[in-house]
Symmetry: D2
Subunit: 243 residues, 4 copies
């Protein structure tokens, strides 16, 4: 059974009544809830826990980490970011949601600013499937329609996605690479754009399916970590020329 840790900064839900009305138990519990229903072993961790809930033990027992953050990216300690980074390179999957695009961990893995255009006026989004054979699109129709979502618009300053699963169409005239996969080290990363805190996006059945699929796709591949460094020759080398 895949072991998932859902991380949330968990601030909006405690500071803002409107957000609390949408996610009374916090975004993390909403997400962990539907992952459990899909048969996963899902737990949660939040910013204000010791070590942000991401101790070495927790991370060593995590197959896939789901990340939601927004207003408190800077409060995440560099030490914990480095710890998560090491674990991703060692094979832990990472699913980064919505405003997690500006999290320290995502920026560190991408090597770019991860900046984008945005607008929060509650406009319609339609997420189109671009890659019909990808397991992350399993069970999804031609598009997913969201009555209201924050607009995230191109240009998105990330490396070109290795696989582009969704492109978002926004009512206000923008487009966005809304579902992107990356591989870094031995880890797989899925970025998925929907999920502004003010809208009930994570209650949408197809959005839930995409996140479940994304977690499954990001599960670690079972093999030994590569050996780096000085390496003896595997074949005889003629040393005709003196060094």
């Amino acid at each position: 059974m895949v072991k998932v840790t859902v991380w949330n900064e968990y601030r909006h839900e405690r500071n803002d009544d409107k957000i609390a009305a949408v996610y009374p138990e916090g975004i993390h519990n909403q997400i962990a809830g539907f992952l459990k229903e899909a048969g996963m072993d899902a737990t949660t961790a939040t910013l204000d826990e010791p070590e942000h809930g991401l101790t070495e033990e927790v991370l060593n027992n995590t197959d896939v980490l789901v990340w939601w953050g927004h207003i408190a990216h800077k409060e995440v300690s560099d030490e914990i970011v480095d710890r998560v980074h090491r674990r991703v390179l060692q094979g832990m999957g990472l699913v980064v949601l919505h405003s997690g695009h500006m999290s320290k961990i995502f920026m560190k893995l991408m090597g770019t600013t991860c900046d984008l255009k945005w607008r929060d006026v509650g406009e319609k989004e339609r997420l189109w499937v671009m890659n019909p054979s990808h397991p992350i699109a399993e069970g999804i129709g031609e598009y997913i329609e969201l009555d209201q979502e924050e607009m995230y618009g191109t240009h998105f300053d990330v490396p070109a996605p290795e696989e582009l699963i969704f492109v978002g169409w926004f009512e206000g005239g923008n487009v966005f690479p809304s579902g992107c996969t990356y591989r870094r080290g031995n880890g797989k990363i899925f970025y998925f754009q929907p999920g502004h805190e003010a809208y009930p996006t994570y209650y949408h059945p197809e959005i839930q399916s995409v996140i479940v699929n994304g977690v499954q796709w990001a599960e670690p591949t079972k093999r030994a970590y590569p050996v780096y460094g000085n390496s003896k020759e595997l074949e005889t080398i003629k040393r005709e020329v003196l060094l």
Copy 2:
């Protein structure tokens, strides 16, 4: 005329007679020399100059930066690395050579450890062209043969190259993705593996051609930097649902 700055840590050539015998003027001057012959406006910068020779003014006047470093990666100040990083994201090209794979700037742009297998016994390498239509392969035969080179072997802990131009075959039984392109922000990056300081690799005509081609390929694309941040709608949005 493309403006190139060739950066070199310039230590081996001053501290080790064997290396000085190969590159008496330093690796940077050897590279700048053949870039000039190819009609480029090439200057040099080295670690021990103030600001490592990479002042704001120098970088703002650089179209493409070539980077060679090996034993002193840690001596490069984080401030200068951040400055180079910003310039790459704004559009400056970057050609990273050989042991530059462990430079702070390359690691920061890749988001991974950039580690690899290595062995320095002076074995033969044969670099095969994998992408025959790529401008970086222009004028290059089916392969480039180097009598002696340091072995760099897979797994190379970088993101999958966006374009794989060369794969190196090593006498001792290893292979390596020896010519790789990436795009980060508005900048183009070319990593090219050959060039251990103890061998006359940068005197090889085809190696020189590849670097010349790589610099040309990495030249900035002329267009305005994208606008990020809050962005007004371009089309009328129906706000049927109250926010």
Copy 3:
């Protein structure tokens, strides 16, 4: 000077007064015109010429072939398609425009149906730049706006583009991978979606710039065609085991 042949089926412009009003000299002459203004050696060829204007001699003297077709794809002879296919694999660039997506030559190079959603009601399109460092985007703003264009919508049944330069936003709610590059053999291919015959798309300055850039990008790389087939060993092989 890059030698371009602009191929057009040239039927709409002769059979339909409305189209003739937009392109009185034919789409091919409109395109060849702005390519010449950009300093290129551009000629034209059309379906009803002998060998569709694409003799061995013409193709052997073509660096980049631009293709526009729509209602007469089936009238293009398989022999000529095979001839163009061979030339692309040998290095000739190919720029496929708009409804050329269903041309025999594009389908043969892609290996898929090249099908898509479409709708021709004269809606607005906005083409967003996705890849800011790509030379095909040189000089282009954040997006190109077309008052009226035929809608082409995802899913587009082609292989995932090797580079995705533009995504089109359509007023009616669709998106499309509107600027895509591919490499096949020694040839480079650029598909660009705008250009329905009923709208003055090829008079738009930025659309013209993209096509000029696309032709430049698709120019052949100068190197010998790879050698295939039986190949003697380059290194001594120990034959310890009898065959």
Copy 4:
């Protein structure tokens, strides 16, 4: 349970005693055997059966088709090739082995000549894992060593692999992109180079693991086939300009 059909031209094993000694039941039965051991529902089909064993019924009941052919590619009827092609585009996985690179179906899906360098002198090959997080590499060490294999060498005239899983090092001085994935339509394709008929390659446990992994990776994604063709608008379009 994944339903696999293993197709083999089945000629060498009946015409050549040396090959019969290696694969007395045919290559197809050897492969089907280890797929069954891995828990798959594997059956076989061969060239000389009616419709080459690939009736509509067989293909409609196949999740993943494995293909081995060599000397009789031309005897495969175009009608059956078109049938397999349609099924791949509809979602059936395809695993193409060794000399299957020149099969009609692979060439049709790739759009290129699929040519390569080759040499059959029984040299050593070492297949290096290039993509450590890919499920096709699950359980595989840093490399797979084959005492004797036919050399397949770069340049391999196929589109750049979407994912490059293995690179082969050959004793005689060549390299090859030995494990490549592609997506075409709704189908996933894995090409894997080892498997010359004269060597016991398909008895090698790690080669078997790769093929098992490849079949699993290529399983169809469950979702409706995309709708193509004329498509009504999803949003209101302002028709300010008369058509």
